[in-house]
Subunit: 263 residues, 2 copies
């Protein structure tokens, strides 16, 4: 699916948001409906040619995104008005659960995945039953010590080997990620975990949240997180928290990607 540079078309970034409840994640799969598939179908139908899209990263089944970028190429150059009209038509064509928030011309080499310099996720938890958050937040009934969870979260910061939070089956070359933010915020009966890094391993945020929830329940001390990280062993960490509380909230790129186009 990765577009080769021999294509002489122009490159665009598409910024989308989606409720992942009904999708088998971002990445195309043979038997299940994914967000990449519905997006490629919409672009291909409206642009009347096959338009593959390359996403900033995959999300698992049930995981949401409030901001995900993908790139694609088309033969024509679109004016601002034409892009704005295409965005309108895409939103009409796409299902209710997928929205296009922007279409941006980028430099010809800009790559939605490789050029991303930072990704941010949020994990939402509600502690009182709430009919309006059923698929949008994890209902966790047991009392939690949020201070202990924040004390532990501080040990995540910095450039470290996070193999302990990685799926055992993986083809990555390195488990080193640099986490620049990891913090819990409480608003009444709702908790939000915000985490940012240069990159994330598959299932990493959910494994981190599951481990921090064990600490919040007092099953482990906050300092245990240091030992878990040092172990580089997935089974030392806690179970993965469910997908439906997780949101990809930001993918950041160097400014040049968007500026080059005008030159």
């Amino acid at each position: 699916m990765h577009l080769q540079s021999q294509t002489r078309g122009l490159r665009y970034f598409i910024e989308i948001a989606y409720d992942g409840t009904s999708y088998h994640g971002w990445q195309r799969q043979p038997q299940s409906i994914t967000v990449q598939e519905v997006l490629e179908e919409a672009l291909s139908t409206l642009l009347r040619s096959e338009v593959p899209v390359v996403g900033a990263g995959r999300t698992d089944a049930g995981v949401h995104a409030t901001q995900l970028f993908a790139h694609f190429e088309i033969e024509e150059s679109y004016s601002f008005e034409a892009l704005s009209h295409l965005k309108f038509r895409l939103n009409r064509f796409l299902p209710e659960a997928v929205a296009v928030n922007a279409l941006l011309p980028v430099s010809a080499e800009a790559h939605a995945r490789f050029d991303a310099v930072r990704r941010s996720y949020e994990y939402k938890i509600h502690m009182v039953k709430n009919p309006f958050l059923v698929n949008q937040s994890y209902y966790f009934e047991k009392p939690l010590n949020v201070d202990a969870m924040n004390e532990a979260a501080a040990f995540l910061l910095g450039r470290q080997d996070f193999k302990c939070f990685s799926r055992s089956k993986t083809d990555v070359k390195t488990y080193i990620c640099e986490i620049t933010e990891a913090r819990w915020d409480q608003d009444g009966a709702q908790l939000k975990f915000s985490i940012s890094a240069d990159r994330f391993l598959r299932n990493m945020v959910r494994a981190i949240v599951g481990t921090l929830l064990e600490i919040g329940q007092g099953k482990l001390k906050p300092a245990a997180l240091k030992t878990i990280i040092a172990s580089r062993t997935r089974s030392e960490a806690g179970a993965s928290a469910p997908a439906h509380g997780l949101y990809l909230t930001e993918v950041a790129y160097p400014k040049e990607i968007f500026e080059k186009y005008g030159e």
Copy 2:
């Protein structure tokens, strides 16, 4: 279903919230699942006897509630701890889309419907496609003049005959309601209409919102609302706005109902 006073049990108010998406409204119906039915089933199962509940009012299919009270009677007197445990068990038993937020002992004559002195509704609209609001707010794409909608909303205030916003098939004796609040608030791409009255006619809020949306689009002048109200004719007003943007948000009672019990 209305409990007669010969029952010598004790009376309780139950405060619930529900996402109305999957329900055919509040009130029991032969062929469809309603909130009243699932609530009566839960109470009857946990209390091991038939427990009819009387709600503060009906909501239509798809309409939500963040606060609705109903009353029921049981033979036993429940301690604070026992009520708290019953609330916990009810929340476990009920579907995810229905939550019990309180169980309150009330005076023996307290009536969830007849004693309510004020009801409040909110109607939510979003003007930019949002995957996370699909069943929880009405997506309205056309530009709206919110100032004009507020100018018109002011004509709703006071004690008036609102037959123009009532279903034609109805068995009410009077169309007079006293509206004490009717206001639009904008927060970015989201609009919220808040309306309070001593009573509402069936479908009234959705008919009001539909009419105000016509004014917001410039199809009618704000002052046209006065003429519509004076006409007492449903066809003069606008089409009903869809159910999924509507929330019953408050049912208010005189304090005495809750205080009497302790005497």
